[in-house]
Amino acid sequence: MDFTRRETFGLALGAAALTVLPFRANAAAEDRIAEFTGGADMAEGGVTLTAPEIAENGNTVPIEVSAPGASAIMVLAMGNPEPGVATFNFGPLAASQAASTRIRLAGTQDVVAIAKMADGSFAKATATVKVTIGGCGG
């Protein structure tokens, strides 16, 4: 769905399409993880995921991933209807194992980065990105 909550504040168009609950991880996301890791355990640490706490625009949220020594990093938007965002593969000559992109988030949800390390182990980082109508600050 198009993210329209912010735009509707004050005009209330398309209000019926809205929901307030955080978007839950769907089964497709779990399937993608299982496919990538083969069901292996994932360590916390070793991969850094940088994302805003609150999205300025849910349609284009800048994120950055970095995992020194990784051969691949998969990024998932756990609550999107199609959770797959990108998988970055790094060859042996890659100068650094980091990437940045912009993603579209259908609502408040977790973004997950999973790094496949050179030794075949996996590491995971999670960031909750809130998508909000906005209000008024002090």
């Binding site: 004050g10 209330a12 609150i54 625009n57 109508i133 906005g134 209000g135 600050g137 002090g138």
Partner: protein, 565 residues
């Protein structure tokens, strides 16, 4: 040998004593009618550096009344912690006597009668006197402005911030950071900042297209003072494009960016900074969390949430200073910096009692120069008030009750919404309401009062969304405003529930019926972040309403039931 940690604690205790004895004396001296400017400014100069902090002035050039909140709830780890204590609890925590000048300055109780006793607060000509006095003690003191300066009054609106720029330039700050300034629109902000004779700082002000630091705003600036190298790092309001209209400054992106803050701290330390000061518009709880995550900040001068605290709050080795709003306070922070580290700190929150502090004549003249073209419009009396009119409080305030009444009656709405901003001075019973007073609580660059239809379900979505911006237990997800004020509708809120489950018992007050999620209601409000919002300006709506009332009376608002406080 005394360790650095012990030393800091000793000197924290010492600063608390300065605060406590100062406050105690004020109460006694005021009772003897002997409180003077000298006593307000009394400060035993300490160490080798002085910082002067002003923040969240919101365009207030002249003395005003400003009532502090009665309801200011903390959640999660901040429940019951400063600044989330008010009234008697606040006075007890800081040893402030009931009815004393400090009680008047820092707490809400008995406000109208104390306001008559102690008079108005603030006024930039009084602030100038205080700044000049500190500079007389310490000529190279750093003056740092935490932002929300070029917004919030009739003259500020009509000059697009130029009145405040002129006055602040005369006060000669050394650096500034930003929030509402951006609602002037990026072209105007860029124009002012390009000509600014001091540093415009924000390590978290980024170019939105490239997600790289914005060229116009530097992350930090070095100052050589008292034989030490001071790094001042700016932190603008993180959630500007969310809390305010993104379309007004689409070239800019913000965010907390604490990993970049750490990188900046490391960078200035590597370049030889002896002391690191962050000039912040994060809001107090966000600053507390950031101080726990980012290592190496000595002092955070905190703004945005309008808290005024008579003592620093210590997180690890970081001292956080909160200096109030609307020109009501100036903080003086003296630092002892030696051998590349901060050895001690002494602090005083100076309330600007406008009847006690002599105005600086040059600044008075400059202020009057800004106001002169608009003098007749500013002074026009629109009505009177029988009630105390104030804004601060998590759920409502009498000013917003009045504004919501105006929206319902002037715009023929079932329900009214007024944004939970924290700026806007107070009026006491018997006061005239002038046009200036109305603009002081409504002025902004997107003041259109919309009228629209919303379903009951959508109204709940809005309330849940805004509630989570205040009561999310993680401060990094808080935007630092208060709850949207609602007229014509009551509700129950359980602040400790997750988003989607806080709001219940929504009731249309005029019928006493429960709000039907499927039914459509006419809603009037103002300050929409949506581009192209149509409607008359809110100050015109409020002026028309007050004119019809003549004398305004605002009845106590009992329509919000708060659970979990």
């Amino acid at each position: 040998m005394i360790s650095r940690r012990d030393f800091l604690q000793v000197s924290m205790a010492a600063s608390a004593l300065v605060g406590a004895s100062g406050f105690g004396n004020w109460a006694r001296l005021a009772a003897q009618q002997a409180l003077t400017q000298d006593q307000l400014l009394e400060f035993e100069t300490f160490g080798n550096i002085s910082l002067i902090h002003v923040t969240d002035i919101h365009g207030q050039l002249k003395p005003i009344y400003f009532r502090e909140p009665e309801i200011n709830l903390g959640v999660g780890d901040n429940r019951g912690k400063v600044p989330h204590i008010t009234g008697a609890d606040f006075r007890k925590a800081y040893g402030i006597a009931d009815g004393s000048p400090s009680a008047y300055a820092l707490t809400y109780d008995d406000f109208s009668s104390l306001a008559r006793t102690y008079g108005r607060v603030g006024g930039m000509d009084r602030v100038a006197t205080v700044v000049n006095a500190i500079r007389a003690d310490r000529p190279d003191a750093l003056l740092l402005d935490g932002g929300d300066t070029w917004h919030g009054s009739y003259t500020c609106y009509h000059t697009a911030g130029q009145d405040m720029v002129n006055v602040m330039n005369a006060l000669k700050p050394d650096a500034m950071t930003f929030h509402w300034e951006f609602t002037l629109g990026s072209d105007r902000v860029n124009e002012i900042v390009e000509g600014l004779p001091f540093a415009a700082l924000g390590q978290n002000i980024f170019d939105a297209e490239w997600d790289e630091p914005a060229e116009l705003f530097k992350p930090y600036k070095f100052f050589d003072r008292g034989g030490a190298k001071i790094a001042v790092i700016g932190q603008a309001f993180p959630y500007m494009p969310i809390a305010n209209p993104r379309w007004m400054f689409p070239e800019y992106s913000f965010g907390i960016r604490d990993e970049n803050m750490q990188a900046m701290v490391d960078e200035v330390r590597a370049q030889g900074a002896d002391v690191v000061v962050v000039l912040s518009h994060n809001g107090f709880d966000v600053d507390k969390k950031m101080a726990g995550k980012v290592q190496g900040i000595d002092v955070i001068l905190s703004g945005h949430t309008h808290d005024a605290l008579p003592e620093p709050v210590l997180v690890g080795k970081t001292h956080i200073i909160a200096s109030g709003s609307n020109g009501k306070f100036v903080s003086r922070v003296d630092l002892d910096v030696r051998d590349g580290q901060m050895m001690g700190l002494r602090h005083k929150l100076i309330p600007i009692f406008s009847d006690l502090i002599a105005p600086d004549p040059a600044m008075t003249a400059l202020i009057e120069e800004q106001r002169a073209p608009y003098a007749a419009d500013l002074a026009e009396v629109i009505g009177q008030t029988d009630s105390l009119l104030y804004r601060r409080g998590n759920f409502n305030g009498t000013w917003d009750d009045l504004i919501c009444d105006a929206l319902i009656s002037e715009r023929e709405a079932d329900i009214a919404m007024s944004p939970g901003v924290r700026w806007g001075p107070s009026l006491i019973p018997g006061d005239d309401i002038t046009r200036e007073d109305i603009w002081n609580v409504t002025s902004m660059s997107y003041g259109q009062a919309y009228r629209t239809e919303m379903t009951g379900e959508f109204i709940k979505v809005i309330l849940e969304d805004v509630a989570d911006n205040i009561f999310n237990p993680d401060p990094y997800y808080q935007q630092g405003g208060d709850m949207v004020r609602i007229g014509g509708m009551g509700y129950r809120i359980d602040i400790n529930k997750p988003q989607g489950e806080r709001i219940s018992e929504m009731t249309l007050l005029k019928t006493g019926e429960a709000i039907d999620p499927a039914k459509t209601y006419v809603v009037a409000g103002w300050a929409s972040v949506n581009e192209g919002t149509e409607g008359p300006m809110i100050w015109d709506v409020v002026e028309s309403h007050i004119r019809k009332q003549g004398t305004v009376t605002v009845n106590p608002n009992n329509s919000v039931k708060v659970v979990g406080a």
